[in-house]
Amino acid sequence: MAAPEGVRAGAEVRLQGLTKLFGPVVAVSDVSMTVPAGSFFTLLGPSGSGKTTTLMMVAGFVHPSRGAIAIDGIDVAALPPQKRDLGMVFQSYAVFPHLTVSENIAFPLEVRKVSAAEIRRRVGEALELVRLTGYERRLPRQLSGGEQQRVALARALVFRPRVLLMDEPLGALDKKLRAHMQLELKRIQRHLHVTVIYVTHDQEEALTMSDRVAVMRGGQTEQVGTPAELYESPVSPFVADFVGESNFLDGVVISTSPDGRAVVRAEGGLELRGTSREPLHVGQRVVAAVRPEKIVPQDARASELNRGKGVVDQIVYAGDATRYSVALGATGTLTVKVQNRLASRQLATGDLVELAWDPGDTRLFARASDER
């Protein structure tokens, strides 16, 4: 895929069959993906999913057991990190403690033998970019975590790398600062058109910042797509659960239609209609997943909605929204999220409610035959 016109800096990164074995342990298994030039691409997954190992292979700190890494079509798998010309921001920031802010940022330029005048100019620019002008002579120990983070970012960008790698860079910051830095990062990335490969286990962070997200699990990519694709049409219960939040109901397919819809009888007898990416057949065991905010209590709309009667079991009030646990007898318990809009009536524990949700919001996943 060629870089679209007008984009200066970003490079396309392509991983092909990337595999890493640590002895008998498979850390990354046959990962292939294309990171479009100039995009913000996130590797999302729980710890041990192989996302950091994948990033470290792109950076050159981990040697792949098999597979290829191409940056703008050039294979870099055999190059050491210092020859790859990639910017990297580490989880621990890794700001040099014995150097001042400007010396830290000048480091990549000095090892590249850039002239002193040019270094001064570009360090000034980089400081301006991360809004740290005036901090030149400070030592890292005199900076807060957020400021050190900015120094690390400026240092990784000052030599104009084609790709910026970030390993959970915001993990150590508090929630407010993290939200602020997320916006700053996006601003800088859009400004420079640099390709960013970003590793995080925080799904919210992944959804808000990324152009594309690769969800990883057990060393493999589970799904690659835009945040909306991952959220609205997850390919597996794992993605439905890890990205956002889902209710899961076990059931058996009782009828299918050619448009991918199917009717499922959940445990306890509740009949649901749902949508599947793959063709289902009658009698197949499935898991139905539905997001809490898609369920509306006490709704009396048209009959094509899935419905179930239940009792409010638990209430968690969270300011902008309230989460109810509604027990549907033998079917199980559903989590329901209701926005606290003007005049919306609060339910109380023990209230009898009727729940309704759209079949289009109900994802059906075939169960592997060996499961349960």
Binding site: F61, P81, Q91, S102, R112
Partner: protein, 295 residues
């Protein structure tokens, strides 16, 4: 206003708490202070007094040391030997400490045991072992001759070379352990960061790892240098007649000449020179760090 008022109320109680804390620390320090006082500070004063007392108070011993070139030569030789030993220990110890600090933890534990192992044997036994190795017909010379590298056995013992080899061997673990403890505190991500920013292996070492390990170099060299100054057994056994170090001189005065005043004066001079060296070194290190900060 309100904040000021509450600060006034809490201030005295804070001071009282501080004082209680200080008292508890003093109590914990007491055994060490008493032991040091009784067995170190008090005898040290004795030496100081004896160095200026010989049938009445006099500075004769000091005058004699300053006037006799042999004594000055011995002092100079002592410092030179200590400097050479320290330098060699640093050059040998730095790579070893680097390995120790960067290998997998399990392997590191094994290596630490190997480094510390010599401490389990008496220094005299170890010195004699070196004498067997380095002697005219010792293992080292036998190999050198057998390999045709030299015609006749080399003089490796009873000279400066023997002293330096023996002392470096004994003092190397102090250097290695001091260096390794500082190196282990260096975040490996810093060296990786240097590589990711385009630094070659040498540049990453020279500009990141080496300056960060500087406190270890300072501590290790200081420790080995000071221990070298007062070394006795190894130079006495492995040195030649002219390789007299200050500790041996003191021993001779105490054991044979029975000139305790003179021996004390030598001891005081050794102590004073050591303290001056320490002060100068401390200053230098401080300045170094200052330069680092200013760039």
């Amino acid at each position: 206003m309100n904040a000021d008022g509450s600060a006034l109320v809490t201030a005295p109680t804070m001071v009282a708490a501080d004082r209680r804390e200080t008292r508890r620390y003093l109590l914990l320090l007491l055994p060490a202070l008493l032991t040091l006082g009784a067995f170190f500070v008090y005898p040290l004063f004795g030496i100081l007094l004896r160095s200026v007392y010989k049938n009445g108070y006099t500075l004769e011993s000091y005058r004699q040391i300053v006037r006799t070139s042999v004594y000055l030569t011995v002092i100079a030789l002592t410092f030179r030997t200590a400097a050479v030993v320290t330098l060699i220990a640093l050059l040998l110890g730095y790579p070893l400490a680097y390995v120790l600090a960067t290998v997998r933890p399990r392997l590191a534990r094994v290596l630490v045991v190997i480094v510390v192992l010599p401490f389990l044997t008496s220094i005299i036994v170890r010195t004699y072992a070196w004498m067997v190795l380095l002697g005219r017909n010792g293992v080292v010379n036998q190999y050198l001759v057998a390999l045709g590298l030299t015609q006749a056995p080399l003089p490796l013992l009873y000279n400066q070379a023997g002293v330096v080899v023996g002392m470096t061997y004994v003092l190397l673990p102090f250097m290695v352990l001091t260096l390794a403890s500082v190196m282990r505190g260096i975040d490996p991500a810093l060296v990786r960061a240097a590589h990711s920013l385009g630094a070659s292996r040498w540049q990453a070492f020279r500009r990141v790892f080496l300056p960060l390990s500087a406190p270890g170099i300072a501590g290790g060299t200081l420790l080995v240098f000071i221990l070298s100054l007062g070394f006795f057994i190894t130079p006495a056994l492995m040195g030649g007649p002219s390789d007299v170090m200050i500790a041996m001189l003191i021993e001779r005065e105490v054991e044979f000449t029975l000139n305790w005043s003179f021996a004390s004066a030598l001891g005081v001079i050794l102590l004073a020179l050591t303290l001056i060296g320490f002060a100068v070194y401390y200053r230098l290190m401080r300045l170094e760090r200052l330069f680092e900060g200013l760039g």
